[in-house]
């Protein structure tokens, strides 16, 4: 008897202790200690993250974790962002919602990325989860404003509705008006992806005025300037705001109204949007600039002089997204003004023109790496680079943890020496010991992969395009990068040998994507046979891979580990070793 009491007390104590452990990784470690800890932990796990929705089935998740309140799911592979994954590939959320509707009545948070969400799924969410609070649909598609109307109408405690970069079909329903007049709980609303027809401005104003806890508001593009000022005056407590279309010419009354509205917003820390902004209006935001930590100007066609002026008003900036209009001179100004900068993303204003339309080179990045001691995360599009610059950047900033460089023209060499960038990226991985994400570009041989395999021990995600000479390159990465989770490759001469030799490695990773490489269908079948816990999916719209000559290479290959076995929702253009040809060809 005393024994049982002791053990039940310690269960409660353990559960209480576990409640302080929030990180997924730590929770997983805790559950592996012993059987009783596994049991206790699984009953009190509240938050689940599934990086690949096909790695596990909803039934399995529910069986192990019966009391989940918050779930995050990701569907399509990353390269789907660049149209490399055909429509209809998969990533449907409905099976998950259906299962969870029954099992998790208290589910209150759903976060999805790159998934296909239908109106039916949204209606099911609205109906099934009484206390639903958070819906984040990042880069999702398949739903319309009908589904949003259902959410608005039923979710009385909704706090967060974030549709970032999703594709929403317009069903002509005034969905915003479906929030009842009694609804006041909105904290974060992001509808920047919606078109003008899909948002009724008066409904939006009424909503904003009755939600006193609103902290983050990202409006859609077509809201005119005077309306912007009105909204801001209704919500001076905002911390994050996405501003909208600026009118064509400066009108002093509109300007002062806007400037006044911004000056009321003492809590504002993050600004974005700025589509079609006219530089004359920029001073309207100067009153908030000194407190800004995040600024996204990557949709704004503002040129370098105005950008420099703006940036010089923002000494607290930690995160800047901008177009290459900022130029090297602007980045130098950034480097001298913004000593707290942690993240920089520079996008190309005209990616398809071989001639640069802005004077942005490797020098800008070098300047920032020198001037900003806290810089950790870089995404940089440019047209020329040198190994010397990369080495300098690596030496200046060994604290980099995300480095994504895109030299726009494939196979571009070092403009000073004509060499490949093996040495430059080698320096990056050698000096930046905490690097977890890396994207390569430019002319690269197998050597760079040797460096990566040797030094990039903490690397979790690697993106490779138009690089390497042979299977050795791939082999170096697969055999050397101990922490590798996601590897995505396109247009590289990597083939069967490296893949089959490193088959076991693939099970330690989340996924591998290879498109326009040199892998044969035979090798895919062999790999699939050898590794039953890998799903080896060939994406090929040309027809059955079997029907082509034996050594023909597959178009695209997506390999991921899974405990759920092969999926049942594969479209006709996805082929696995088990495909039944007769079933395929019948309509």
């Amino acid at each position: 008897m005393p024994k049982r009491l002791a053990s039940s007390l310690s269960d409660e104590v353990l559960e209480h202790v576990f409640s302080f452990i929030q990180s997924e990784k730590d929770r997983n470690v805790v559950s592996a200690v012993c059987k009783s800890w596994y049991e206790i932990e699984r009953w009190c796990r509240r938050k689940i993250f599934v990086g690949n929705c096909y790695a596990v089935s909803p039934e399995m998740v529910i069986r192990r974790f019966p009391q989940v309140r918050s779930i995050e799911l990701k569907g399509k592979p990353h390269f789907a962002d660049f149209n490399l994954v055909p429509d209809g590939w998969g990533g449907y959320v409905l099976p998950w919602i259906t299962e969870m509707a029954g099992a998790y009545p208290w589910l209150d948070e759903i976060r999805l990325k790159r998934m296909v969400v239908t109106d039916e799924s949204l209606e099911l969410i609205a109906k099934s989860f009484k206390d639903f609070k958070v819906l984040v649909l990042a880069s999702c598609e398949g739903f319309s404003t009908d589904g949003l109307a259902a959410i608005a109408a039923s979710c009385k405690n909704l706090r967060e509705l974030d549709l970032r970069e999703s594709e929403v079909d317009d069903s002509s329903v005034h969905w915003l008006s479906h929030f009842p007049e009694t609804y006041t709980s909105m904290v974060s609303l992001n509808i920047s992806c919606l078109g003008s027809g899909e948002v009724s401005f008066s409904a939006l104003e009424r909503l904003v005025s009755r939600c006193p806890n609103l902290r983050s508001l990202k409006l859609n593009r077509a809201v005119p300037l005077d309306k912007t000022a009105n909204i801001l005056r209704l919500a001076p407590q905002l911390v994050e705001f996405s501003a909208c279309t600026y009118s064509a010419e400066l009108r002093s009354d509109v300007f002062s109204n806007l400037a006044g509205a911004f000056s009321n917003c003492k809590e504002l820390r993050s600004l974005s949007g700025f589509w079609d902004v006219v530089p004359d209006y920029l001073p309207a935001i100067y009153s908030v600039c000194s407190r800004l930590t995040s600024l996204n100007l990557s949709y704004a066609t503002i040129l370098s002089p105005d950008l420099i002026k703006l940036v010089s008003h923002c000494p607290s900036l930690q995160r800047l997204l901008v177009l290459d209009y900022i130029e090297d001179s602007g980045l130098e100004a950034l480097a001298s003004n913004c000593k707290d900068l942690q993240e920089l993303r520079v996008f190309p204003s005209d990616p398809f023109d071989a001639e640069p339309n802005a004077s942005l080179t490797e020098q800008g990045l070098v300047a920032v790496s020198l001037g900003c001691p806290k810089l950790q995360s870089v995404l940089y599009f440019c047209r020329r680079m040198s190994n010397a610059a990369l080495v300098t950047i690596a030496q200046n900033r060994p604290n980099l943890n995300r480095f994504r460089l895109c030299i726009i023209e494939p196979n571009t060499a070092d403009y000073l020496t004509g060499e490949p960038f093996d040495v430059g990226f080698g320096a990056i991985v050698e000096h930046c010991k905490d690097l977890i994400r890396l994207s390569l570009s430019g002319l690269l041989t197998d050597c760079v992969f040797e460096y990566i395999g040797k030094y990039a021990k903490k690397l979790e995600m690697l993106s490779v395009a138009f690089a390497g000479d042979s299977d050795l390159g791939l082999h170096h990465v697969l055999s050397g990068c101990e922490s590798l989770r996601k590897l995505e490759i396109r247009d590289c001469p990597f083939g069967d040998k490296a893949l089959l030799t490193n088959a076991a490695k693939l099970e330690t990773m989340q996924s591998l994507w290879m498109s326009s490489c040199s892998v044969s269908f035979e090798a895919c079948k062999l790999l699939s046979q050898k590794m039953p816990r890998l799903n080896v999916e060939v994406i090929d719209e040309r027809g059955p891979p079997d029907s082509r000559p034996e050594n023909c290479t597959v178009d695209k290959l997506y390999i991921y580990r899974s405990v759920a076995g092969p999926r049942f929702d594969m479209p006709p253009f996805v082929w696995t070793k088990d495909e039944d040809l007769a079933l395929r060809l019948s309509p």
Binding site: D81, F82, N83, L84, P86, D87, G88, V116, S172, D276, Y299, T301, F347, P348, D350, P351, A354, E355, F381, C406, I408, E409, P410, N411, T412, A413, Y415, T417, G418, L443, T445, A465, F466, D469, S470, L472, D491, P493, F494, G495, D496, K497, A498, T501, S515, S516, C517, S518, V519, S520, E541, R542, G543, P549, E550, N551, C552, D555, P572, R584
Partner: protein, 285 residues
Amino acid sequence: MEGGLVLLGGGANGGGSGGSSGFSTNESAMSEASSYPAETELELGLGLSIGGPTGKINKASGRILTAKDFPVPRRASMNGGTPPSVTVSGTKRAADQSVPHDSGSPTATSQVVGWPPIRSYRMNSLVNNNQAKAPRAEEEHKGINEEEEEDKAIKDGSKLKKPNENLGHIGFIKVNMDGIRIGRKVNLNAHSSYHSLASALDNMFLRSAGAEKQQLTMPSKLLDGSSEFVLTYEDKEGDWMLVGDVPWMMFLTSVRRLRIMKTSEANGLAPRFHERNRTQRSKLI
């Protein structure tokens, strides 16, 4: 199989097994299936077939095309493991390597699917920005008239691009078909004519994958009014029009999205020939 490691240690001796040979076999198979044999001959005649099967461009497979499909000799080493000494046009390479062919440097990047890696959300925003800008001074290329372009457009996408620099940005647009829940996206950059586009759509929607090859050479019924479906598009002003009335180039600059509509429902649309009934703004979706 583990013995493969020894080979790898010995140095780069080629890409995937059978990559090169497999590739050329594939190429000939694709050439047979091409519905544009004339263009194929043109391309081969100009010696542009290095590194990629050139016959694929007009093959109406709905397949997402990659750098391999375009006659720019990119990386031959992609499939053969040869060292990167093959010059690629538009590449800023060292002086010791010559540029053998001049299809125009701006083409290379705009023709590769998914490169540079910019999300479509951002890409659409760039399109809007660039359309608002004044056209840059590329006057020297504007002399090419439209007919010439349609003939040559397949093998030399640069000329496709120059008269309207926005063309390089159009890329993927949505296509929906009545009765089918899931829409698709089609890459307009990959097509140089209505025929090519309609064949691709036929393949995407009206046939299952694994289509018989002979159907690829038949002209699409979508354009001639003989099928129960008709191809329509929404233009920049939000009007729905029948596809095929305006020159291909003009179509490219104004199309926003496509819809394969049942012929019976298409009554309210602008008539096929000459007359435009712009007062009809029927919201068909």
